[in-house]
Symmetry: C2
Subunit: 434 residues, 2 copies
């Protein structure tokens, strides 16, 4: 067997510890796949004295990334710190010093991807990021390599395990959002500050990366319309179930038929009970995609957590060692959109919508709302209005529309919200049947 | 963009026509991913005059594979003929003349894999075969590359679309095997001679290839215990459903816990309703696998058919053009089993079993059968015996066992079959709950 390859690890949090442990415990197995031993030469952490779950020989540990960038024996580095800085500067320093980089940090790629990819290109290095999207599910390789013969028509993903854990627990246990969030934090499925998970930021950053791979289009993640799960209540879930749906935080990228335009959105969405996305429960991730040749594909697995993510990190290290990552990075980086991506936005999506209004309990309200919808050319498939239970005089009015452009539905909802019949926050969710 | 790469296609049947069409219709898209144009230089068929669904310029068509092997401008060849010969000789000739090969032919690889891989190695060429297993589902790449950091613990696959079409239609329509087989043939989901599909041969050959990738073990497919779906009747399906299961033709490879031993089997198996494999319907394929790091993964997609298979063929052509296939082939070919694979066989599997006996309707029969099971240490979880409906005096007796080694169950069934209480063919199916 050839000479060992020496790797560095930056960051020894959950994922870093997992990657370190996997490289140590499965050393023989990894060597078999890499064609040579893979040896961790140096580990850089922020705080030397923090207690850790893995036993790293003290000689390997340090706090200075220069110990890696200056060490010419190290060729591959797993950058496993989160957030934007110092992750960005560290990645630049690693690439400039001639290291290939493997990372699980979706935020830094979604924010600074074009700059970082350009630095890598200039220095002839690669960035591999399977672990940054959907953890253990090999969706980056599937889209970037395995389905390369396909024009991707749509991607629908459950890309944030925390949100999915919360939504499916609310549904299964009839517990409300705040209660389940506390439970998720206790069980380690949600961070102490879960904002980036529940407000859709995490899923949106992952969607931006998948969009780049699938459509050759780099979309700044902040431009993707995004809604989180904070507004989802049990009543809405019950209503959804009455119509035959569950609510999932879906990341969607869909090509408008026959065009190069891609509609993007992250939002809670109704998915029909019995379909694979609706049956994705707990902290699992899932991706359903359609390619013009392959048809419909579905992937399901653990999207986060220590060892599933470490599995993807180590697979990327192996890919980098054998040379596949360099090739993939080169071809991926050359991708350009097929035609102008001139209109990116959820407004292009045409689908059914579930609308819920809190309205005054008096004559003429339904006529008024139906009128606003009609003006936008939206036809109504079903209406549910139960008798008022509250003293407030406000009653929930739920409407399922036929297929309509999101732009028209949004305009109608805005008109209704501006009228005097509405007593609270209106909700508008897309509906997916297949 | 670089010089075009010139490819040959051998065989212009369903898959060959699909690959030709995809390379032509998506030429620009393929070039983007391959980093250079991919041009079909020559197509070899058996019969020049057969009518075809794709229009190949007559100058490209020929019947002599020598036109490809002698053409030094052709570097990659898609070998898309089925069966063993002349596929085997053709592949050897192509490799010896310096061509990299892409193929969808699982039979020739399962039968002659070690020889063909050795020829490729000797000539520094690669063989890519994503299309040979589960069509459009990228399971070969997933196991061979993406999950390389994992020790695979188990693979369970629905790998034959024809069998799954028949089983799920029987169940949905309450129609019997022969009737649904005719329907499947009419609709193009089954060949005129469906023997290799319904007797489990096709799935077993695919399982042999996946076993090689996942466990580094080359098992001659003929040594894998194999049963087809011919014996499945509607009564058995109804009984399975009463217990909460559907019947699927499952290909299983499972590592005995803590050992290097791998148990292999292809057989109709009870899978619990609601689990993803049980909900895989029609001509779809699916693979559920467990890796020690990644946990449980599930893949679902079209496992056969013209364009899904062509999607995998063209992805492999792209992989070959960019150089990934050569790397993967080199690392895969070096795989060796982790420890001795000293005991391969379904007898190692420990699971629940559903047994159905046709027994004489007289006293003492249940005691006799329960006695045979008890002697093998098998305990009974449930028994169903409905009142006799036939004049024959034979009644079906159905037993669900607790978890027991397959070897013990087989021995008990053999003893029962040898006794004088049995009036017809006994059936024994494994049961999977998760």
């Amino acid at each position: 067997m050839s000479e060992p390859v020496r790797v560095g690890i930056v960051g020894l949090g959950t994922v870093g510890s997992g990657a370190y442990r996997l490289l140590a415990d499965s050393a023989e197995h990894v060597a078999r796949h890499a064609g040579r031993p893979v040896v961790v030469e140096r580990v850089v952490v922020r705080d030397l004295h923090r207690p850790r779950a893995v036993a790293v020989p003290p000689g390997l540990l340090g706090t200075d990334i220069g110990a890696i960038t200056r060490d010419r024996s190290i060729s591959v580095v797993a950058l496993l710190v989160g957030g934007l800085e110092p992750a960005r500067s560290m990645m630049v320093a690693l690439l400039e010093s001639g290291k290939d980089v493997v990372t699980a940090n979706k935020a830094v790629l979604a924010e600074h991807g074009p700059e970082l990819f350009e630095v890598a290109r200039r220095h002839g290095r690669s960035i591999a990021f399977e672990a940054a999207v959907a953890g253990g599910i090999p969706i980056v390789a599937a889209i970037g390599e395995c389905l390369a013969a396909n024009r991707i028509e749509s991607i629908r993903g459950i890309l944030n395990g925390t949100s999915n854990f919360i939504l499916s627990r609310m549904e299964e246990e009839g517990a409300d959002y705040a209660e389940v969030l506390r439970l998720a934090q206790d069980e380690g499925y949600a961070e102490a500050d879960p904002a980036m998970d529940v407000d859709g930021t995490d899923a949106t950053q992952k969607l931006a990366l998948l969009t780049h791979l699938a459509f050759g289009t780099w979309v700044p993640w902040g431009q993707i319309p995004r809604r989180g799960i904070e507004g989802i209540d049990l009543d809405l879930m019950t209503t959804a179930r009455e119509f035959g749906y569950r609510i999932r935080l879906l990341a969607i990228a869909a090509r408008a038929p026959g065009t190069a335009r891609v509609a993007l959105r992250v939002a809670p969405t109704l998915v029909r009970i019995g379909t694979p996305l609706a049956e994705t429960r707990g902290a699992f991730n899932a991706v359903s995609l359609v390619g013009d040749a392959v048809g419909k594909m579905f992937f399901h697995g653990l999207g986060a957590g220590q060892m599933p993510t470490a599995s993807a990190v180590v697979a990327d290290i192996i890919d980098t060692v054998v040379g596949r990552a360099a090739i993939t990075f080169r071809t991926t980086a050359m991708l350009e959109p097929e035609g102008p991506a001139d209109s990116l936005g959820a407004a292009d999506l045409v689908e059914r919508h579930l609308l819920r209004f809190l309205v005054a309990d008096r004559p003429g309200v339904l006529a008024r709302i139906a009128g606003c919808l009609g003006e936008q050319g939206i036809s109504i498939a079903a209406v549910i209005q139960h008798e008022a239970e509250t003293e407030s005089g406000a009653v929930p009015l739920v409407i399922m529309t036929h297929r309509s452009p999101a732009a028209a539905v949004n305009a109608a909802v805005a008109a209704i919200d501006a009228s005097d019949v509405v007593r609270g926050r209106s909700i508008c969710l897309g509906v997916i049947d297949d």
